[in-house]
Point group: C2
Chain length 418, copies 2
């Protein structure tokens, strides 16, 4: 039985076991890792009843605490969600294994042959809030890339995550891999998070999944590197050269398909020359669809925009709208208010679109496509552990390949440096 | 005139100017960046006399302070070193421009075309000690990759670095690029370093160049990400299957070619079965070459090894030596004592060499080649700003390409997410 009075010591012990497991996992075969994930999927389906029972305990506690409807919906598991979780595990299992891939190779005149090959990162710490399925997704992606993972789920989903974690551990065991490769912090205390954030000896990267409060805390306090985005303040700029039909449909999709995801559009920018025509038509269509449009001068929205509405992540049926002089006006606005997540330009003029995509430095820049495509699955990565807006290592959707590092293998034949 | 009483404010102002310059530099043409570096090289040759005069001031102060011979040698500039500096700038100028390169691209069934393209990192902070030529090398590599750079050289090389920096600034100006793209912290106070380490708003990466004291300080204190290695404790393992001639020559080269560089071998590991034969012959040859061999049981060296000799970076004509049972014994020793920089296996047996290269996780793993090849030039990168042992983003030699980030460009045709 673990001593759970000394939380920092407990977390450090978990970290040490994760490091040891990561070493074993680094040389596990592709077949073995895939087998572990398929076995975990089987187990999740077989254990459906106990997962649902654990979830019911969390749901009761959540209702008692009076959590919001949105939070309770994120927490809820049903047969469909459990099946989707198992399918997600199988999809990751069947992806190509990134580990051992030769990323580049070349010869030198000295006779050396140099290869850059993909290796696991080591140990990933995942800190998340209420969605219990993050347990399965994050566990699967980390193992696929040969990493050990330490999962610290929200206290609301404590029992659900525990039941899912047990299935993942069973999958590892069935494939002969160390169970410590997927560990869960078995206490609810916040102190465990603080210890993870400074555990540089054992954790290589922290991935926070959740609201701005959690992500901001992790970004401020972590000594371990972090893959994350704080906010997804996605902009859509409609140029004078935009195709009207495409523009209307793309803006509607970008805002309304799902409003609670980080790729949802939060601000519409319209070229001055088409503000009265196409711009107003888009605003009208948004309002017809039930969106509250907070509009700047030159557009008739639901309410006038205030300065606070720009640079705001609504995550709701609300959008800010503003007239800009041209693409440079849009670029200037986005540089001031954006969060470097995803921006879209609607333009048929190649020079305008290229300027937008070259001059802005968001992780993802779209042309004539909905910002809601900002997603690892839609990028062909199979799944994602999150979307990163930092400039180092991983940017945009973070899939298994992004959870890797590399090393150089250099081969000579008694080669000496002169 | 800058107010140099408030050092943190001064450094923040430098950072803000660097951010602004980085935005301009990000869209500078390849031709313009190359022109700036060639113009800087011209200026360095033309201003040789004033650079030498500035260096003479630093040398006088260094002698007065009683700095060591090695430090004074690192500080010294002469015509040859100035010419080499100019040549280095031209070599970087003539490299291919990494910025704008399409790293990967693919199509999705939704109709999206996705590209991952290389972008600058932004602003690099370089903190270094006595070598004045780092000013030119670091400035050139950062500008090549479209980054602005803030240089903070050691106080010993204050005047030399200032003179070289003036040439770089002149080169930028000649090419119509912002002079703020290469800035130098114009004060000697340590407080400037502390401020750089926490300037996350304006500095994207810090590269420390210098001894363990400086690098350790930066790694401990920085809030900004760091590309560095703390120590280069490079191991050479001689397997029972090693070719004797190659083994003798590679070990000698790895230890003695230059002892003061991070790629110099610091520990020799010998397979038990050949300890008395080839192992002892290598030890004898090292001692003949003037190396002090601190040997463990089973090898007759200059002196017996103590526990402290393992995991030690001598940077001198000293090497630790030890007998191990086999390749797994070598791997276990390196995992315990290594610094994840560069290790070499001398073996003709492919299975042994593969095991060594797969199971160890150093940035560079060599087979039958001298560890002294751990160098950006020898890897074909043209130049390097340092060697990194972290697992994130840049590992091994850090050249212009490693000083970049990337973004996704996604093109559709009114494409909506279902």
């Amino acid at each position: 039985m673990q001593n759970i009075d000394d939380i920092p010591a407990l977390v450090r012990a978990i970290g040490a076991r994760a490091s040891a497991a990561a070493r074993e996992l680094a040389t596990a075969s592709s077949e073995q890792k895939a087998r572990a994930l398929h076995a975990a999927a089987d187990r999740i389906l077989a254990d459906q009843d106990s997962i649902l029972a654990a979830n019911a305990r969390d749901m009761d506690a959540a209702r008692e605490k009076g959590l919001s409807g949105a939070m309770i919906d994120r927490l809820l598991l049903d047969e469909g969600r459990i099946a989707a979780m198992a399918e997600g595990l199988r999809a990751v299992a069947d992806q190509p294994d990134p580990i051992g891939q030769v990323i580049a190779e070349w010869d030198m005149e000295t006779g050396l042959h140099i290869q850059r090959v993909r290796t696991p990162l080591g140990v990933i710490g995942v800190i998340y809030e209420s969605r219990p399925n993050v347990t399965a997704d994050a566990g699967a992606l980390c193992v696929k890339a040969g990493n050990a993972v330490i999962l610290r789920g929200g206290s609301e989903s404590f029992h659900s995550s525990g039941a899912i974690h047990a299935c993942l551990a069973a999958g590892l065991e069935a494939a002969g891999l160390p169970g410590d490769a997927i560990q869960r912090v078995p206490v609810r205390d916040r102190e465990a998070v603080a210890e993870m954030l400074r555990l540089v000896e054992h954790i290589d990267v922290i991935v926070p999944r959740g609201g701005k409060g959690l992500v901001g805390l992790v970004q401020r306090e972590a000594r371990v590197p972090v893959f994350a985005h704080l906010e997804g303040i996605c902009h859509v700029y409609v140029d004078a050269s935009a195709d009207p039909e495409k523009a209307v449909e793309v803006v509607l999709n970008a805002k309304t398909r799902r409003t609670g995801i980080c790729g949802a559009a939060e601000c519409l920018l319209v070229h001055r020359d088409i503000a009265e025509g196409l711009g107003q038509r888009i605003v009208d269509r948004l309002m017809e669809a039930g969106v509250e449009v907070r509009a700047g001068a030159g557009l008739r929205g639901s309410v006038p925009a205030s300065e606070d509405d720009f640079g705001k992540e609504f995550l709701d049926m609300i959008i800010a709208a503003k007239v800009v002089d041209d693409v440079d006006g849009a670029i200037a606005h986005i540089r001031e208010y954006g969060s470097n997540h995803t921006e879209c330009v609607l333009a048929e003029d190649d020079a305008v679109a290229d300027r937008f995509m070259q001059r802005l430095d968001s992780a993802i820049l779209m042309r004539n496509a909905s910002t809601q495509f900002a997603d690892g699955g839609e990028f062909g990565m199979g799944a994602e552990i999150g979307i990163a807006t930092g400039k180092l290592h991983a940017r945009g959707p973070v899939g298994a390949e992004q959870l890797t590092s590399f090393k150089y293998l250099v081969r000579g034949d008694g080669t000496l440096r002169r």
